[in-house]
Symmetry: C2
Subunit: 727 residues, 2 copies
């Protein structure tokens, strides 16, 4: 608490007060000239935007278009103008901005009462100003903040006009007419409760505030407080994934900031062990080079440089003074015009920033942290932002509601600045009218959500839980083991319910292997059942094929489709191979680096080299390569051991190529008494075993004898040097 007090004091010293009363106090010129650069830029950017809007005059069109359409974008521009206009007035005292925000709101006061359901209504969650109620909530969250900055300076007639014809009915629309959405435990409800609650504080409407905090019935079983308890895991992971987490964070933090100002006794930022601030840090951890891991229905171009996070970082910094948040703001090169933003900009200018501690971590999922987890394994040299070059993500989380994908035990990997093992994200072109009005595309259901679109085990060509979100939401994987030990990071997960009677287990290991470059990833996947099944293990990689060590039948003159349904219909088959020994290797290049994927199955393996884009008449899908391993097992027992090896360098400018071929000569996998033994023979003759006991006890000693060699180690897993070949 002491730190908080100090910060509060520091904040108080700021030139600009957040309460409207002081808004008319015009800052002195020298004060303006002394603004820290980031804040000054923000102010200039805001003025620039609002000035352009003012030049266009007040444009408040009758709602008509869906996302991306003209009226949609105009109402977005309008709420941004009200929000910024109010802030600029508070900061500069320039009444032109106050008047503009006021007049804009008076225009809405004219129109709003006449509105019914939006004409571009797409489902039951219809809005008034926008095609979906979510956007109406976003409008309110922004507009009410701008209104708060000017309201005290308006005439009582103006206030009444705006209060009664815009904010009260808008709050009523969200919390009463749209009660179904309002009482969900879902980020859409977070936006709605935030808008309604902040409106309540501004209008001094206790009832409105209580409904926002505790739900329509004020029972507390829904509403904002409950959302902070159910939507984040104890580790601050948001069940829908980082793309939605950063989206949900804005209303969470902005409303929390308002609660803190209006009801500090609620200690909202300490609620549930400071879950909201924890959630913000977690959001940053779930990114690579600034871009969020594209779990579930994610738009891939979303990065930390997103409006929702500027306010969040500023609020969190004001609450904690954590200097690593300053480096996030520095990366964003943005802040907000609140006193929190001023604090961020000042301390950044004072050189107080420290690198954000990107690290390996395991984040439990579920309100009690009992619905699986996501494991992030980071490794390698760090860049300027202090971020390691390699990040492997094991997604052993729950379904993540309606935007969740059927991707149990899936993984992803980044290296050398690129996504090497891919997650497709959402099939959607946000706000691009030509693509279904910017909404989710049909291929989001037929491809993006399907299991085969992910790096996971697919049984009998069906998606996990047969693609049923209800079933999927009932059962989550379990995280069996996690270790961030240097040189031997591990994540192991399991799920028994993705397919009836099939136990799926995956262990991912990032070991240091003498003689190999980093990263090396060992992937152990097992499917166990009493019944015969077909097991498919796709790897969606990024790059151009250099070579493979198996003979293929190529479909070079007519390209068939892999399957009929569940995503298989979207895969072109370039080539197929039969590997009786279950072994093979594929090498590709990406951005001057080579990657070899080497696999060994417990019996014959069919290999498919394919590309996405089949059955896609509207060219909605990206065309991306994949390799799929298929094991048809009469006894229902399938295992895949594969090694992803990064190696070498291609420098086109220098015309230099180094180590373009794998340094591994052979990969051999055995499963003995519940123990996985993977033996590697390097071309140098060096031999190593990666032994996995699957026993978490770090002290427990294990020993296995195989082909006359005894391999001994302690703990869950180990890299054991074997006698070199020829010795």
């Amino acid at each position: 608490m002491k730190r908080l007090m100090l910060l509060a004091a520091a904040a108080a010293l700021c030139t600009f007060q957040h309460d409207a009363a002081a808004a008319s106090v015009q800052p002195q010129a020298e004060q303006m000239s002394e603004l820290p650069p980031l804040y000054a830029d923000e102010l200039a950017r805001a003025k620039n935007f609002v000035d352009e809007m003012m030049a266009e005059g007040l444009v408040v069109p009758l709602p008509k278009d869906p996302g991306g359409g003209y009226t949609h974008e105009q109402h977005k521009r309008n709420y941004k103008a009200i929000y910024l206009g109010g802030q600029i007035y508070r900061v500069t005292g320039d009444e032109a901005y106050r008047d503009y925000a006021r007049d804009m709101l008076l225009e809405y006061a004219e129109m709003y009462p006449k509105l019914g359901d939006h004409p571009a209504k797409a489902n039951q969650n219809v809005g008034r100003l926008f095609w979906q109620v979510l956007n109406d909530a976003m409008w309110l969250v922004h507009a009410v903040q701008g209104y708060g900055d000017i309201r005290d300076t308006l005439t009582s007639a103006e206030r009444a006009m705006i209060d009664d014809n815009v904010f009260r009915p808008a709050a009523k629309f969200l919390s009463v007419d749209s009660e179904r959405t309002f009482n969900l435990i879902h980020n859409h409800a977070t936006w709605a409760t935030a808008g309604v609650g902040m409106t309540g504080y501004l209008l001094g409407d206790r009832d409105m505030v209580d409904r926002a905090l505790l739900g329509s019935d004020k029972s507390g079983e829904t509403g904002f407080i409950r959302q902070t308890e159910l939507l984040f895991s104890p580790d601050g992971y948001y069940t829908e994934g980082p793309y939605y987490q950063r989206f949900a964070l804005l209303p969470f933090l902005v409303f929390a900031d308002a609660i803190e100002r209006n009801e500090p006794e609620r200690k909202i930022f300490e609620h549930r062990d400071g879950i909201l601030l924890k959630a913000l840090r977690t959001t940053v951890q779930l990114s690579y080079r600034g871009y969020f891991f594209p779990f579930n229905d994610a738009i891939r171009d979303k990065s930390l440089k997103t409006a929702e996070l500027y306010d969040g970082i500023a609020i969190a910094y004001a609450q904690t003074g954590d200097p690593s948040l300053l480096s996030v703001a520095e990366f964003q090169d943005r802040t907000v015009l609140s006193k929190n933003g001023m604090m961020v900009a000042s301390d950044l200018a004072a050189g107080k920033a420290k690198p954000f501690p990107f690290k390996s971590l395991m984040l439990s999922d579920g309100p009690e942290g009992k619905q699986g987890a996501v494991a992030v394994l980071r490794d390698g040299p760090t860049n300027a932002e202090g971020e390691p070059s390699t990040a492997l993500i094991a997604k052993n989380t729950s379904q993540g509601m309606g935007h969740g994908h059927f991707d149990k035990l899936a993984w992803q990997m980044y290296d050398n600045g690129n996504e090497i093992v891919r997650d497709y994200g959402a099939a959607r072109f946000l706000n691009i009218v030509a693509k279904e009005g910017g909404r989710y595309l049909p291929e989001n259901e037929t491809w993006a959500k399907s299991s085969i679109a992910h790096n996971t085990l697919v049984v009998d060509e069906k998606s996990h839980f047969d693609g049923d979100v209800k079933l999927a939401s009932a059962k989550a994987p379990s995280q069996l083991y996690f270790s961030d030990a240097d040189g031997l990071q591990v994540s192991s997960g399991r799920i028994a319910e993705a397919y009836p009677g099939v136990l799926m287990q995956r262990t991912l290991i990032v070991p240091d292997i003498p003689g190999l470059e980093a990263p090396v990833v060992l992937d152990l996947v097992r499917g166990r059942s009493r019944d015969a099944h077909q097991y498919d293990l796709p790897l969606h990689y990024s790059g151009h094929i250099m070579e493979f060590d198996f003979a293929v039948d190529s479909n070079v003159e007519a390209r068939p489709v892999l399957g009929e349904a569940n995503g298989y219909q979207h895969i072109w088959v370039d080539a197929q191979a039969k590997r009786d020994d279950g072994k093979g290797a594929l090498t590709w290049i990406l951005d001057g680096r080579f990657y070899t994927y080497r696999f060994a199955g417990n019996g014959p393996i069919d290999v498919v080299l394919g590309e996405t884009g089949a059955n896609d008449p509207n060219f909605n899908l990206r065309r991306e390569p994949l390799i799929m391993l298929r094991a048809s097992r009469e006894n229902g027992q399938a295992s895949f051991a594969s090694l992803l090896e990064a190696h070498g360098k291609y420098d086109g400018a220098a015309e230099q190529t180094v180590a373009s071929r794998s340094r591994v000569a052979d990969l051999d996998h055995s499963w003995i008494e519940g123990v996985d033994i993977v033996r590697l023979t390097l071309k140098s003759g060096q031999r190593f075993a990666i032994a996995v006991s699957h026993q978490p006890d770090p002290e427990a000693a294990h020993s296995v004898t195989i082909d006359g060699e005894t391999i001994a180690w302690t703990g869950f897993a180990a890299v054991v040097a074997l006698t070199d070949e020829g010795n």
Copy 2:
């Protein structure tokens, strides 16, 4: 000349002399500490490289591997070490580097005399140290420079050993045993003559020098001097294209620099109106964002940041003092350890750099400039390097010898930092052993060189000149017109011999059209013949399809191949359309920008939407999209008018999309009395005509009446405003 004298004087003031005599003079510590940053970095980089080599000891393996293989790369590292070792010794006086270079050369003296043809011989141009003689020439060009820096300090026994067992036999191998290559008018011969000539100067062997300058028979019909007259056009364009031009420039400029030092009376840099320096500037002009236009057999990752140009820029700067060359060196962030490099580094540190004047220009091709031309039309806001954002290239050049592609009248366009309309370049993975040992791939012949692989007109599914390089080399297109007029840039070219009895003509215009963003490109293509023909016009674009305004038959479940041969066998057909009115439009997105390609044919057009990669069992081709327009014309008369319109913006971070759809409502093309009239109707109702008289006279007045509207203009072409729709 006065400027040259001054510069010579300035050079003389440099701390470091180029003649070996002064090499033993150790520079004072303070002098070393005063090295300009770029030079100091270069010295550190060179030391770092040679120190590593010295740590490994002398490794001079018997030649065995092809390009990219171990012995190939080792001998490349060795000549680099000899070259840099000598330079470091000259600069620092540190004898360890002298001794290392000497001992390395003594190792070669042991081995070289025993060598025969390289075991990885691929064709008749076999080398000794390398699989092709070209690399042996490169070895000599570098090694002789390093040797030159230390030779005077060696014992006469050492000199004799190295002279007689390495340099004389190497020069003999290149100029006598490999006389065929040596006497070519080709960049391979430039490397050979440079190596032999510089060896001649060093060993004081007049005969060697004369053979290098004038060819084996000293007639002057071949040899270095003749190469400077035949390999560049009067505008300094090198017929093989920029990728080879930058490669050829090193021996041209390095040898010229040696000639200037040894025989200043030859005034080599003034020879043919200063062609060598002109060629260097032209090379820089033929790049976008530092990357060379990938004409012909080009490796796409080649940029100005390439070893061959560091020396060239330094030599040219020493000769001219042109400050815009400093900004090229600044972009390269590299220089060389010669006194020229010192001059570049010093003046750069002194802040003398000026932006390089990237501009629209026409470069004639052919020794007399009569074999066509390449036109570069640049436009748009400039970046930090002063380079315009848009560059359109019309390639109306001659074939460009064996590495030339059958791409008469082809074009390319860059915008917003990306290649929007593509040239495939070479099908080759340089030095990557798995890909045919890093040599050209079979697909270089079957795809990369073919006409259909380029943005040009293809008749009856055959390549230009039926793919016969001899025929192709005999006839070049003619550049009919060129204008870099602001707001209406034009290039027009024609060729009558690419197909018997077919006249091909293409006019590319970059106009400013009120109401449209820039760039807008109008492409007018005409094929004229007395006989029936099928005319195909492919556009190889970069991006993801957003929409098209025509109904298609989609091949979504089995993907057929477009044709049998001449590159058609490598094209998958995704969809086909029949347009009886000959009209249609396709919109794609790339890097947040939208592009709409709108076309109108003189009659029915078949449209193919396709992707490369068919009949490619080894995955040697990149998979890239194309749209192809097909006009089957009984009367042999085909015309295609198309408009490429850049528009809008997609900002994933801000979730903002603007103008994702074309602003053009209709495109209409007429051909009246030898005049092209393209009428544009914008969605705003605005109407414009782009009128093309094809008459170069800027004063000549033209007038055409069409649909009751009279369109009048003067000169070759004009944008004429028409009465708006509805007025």
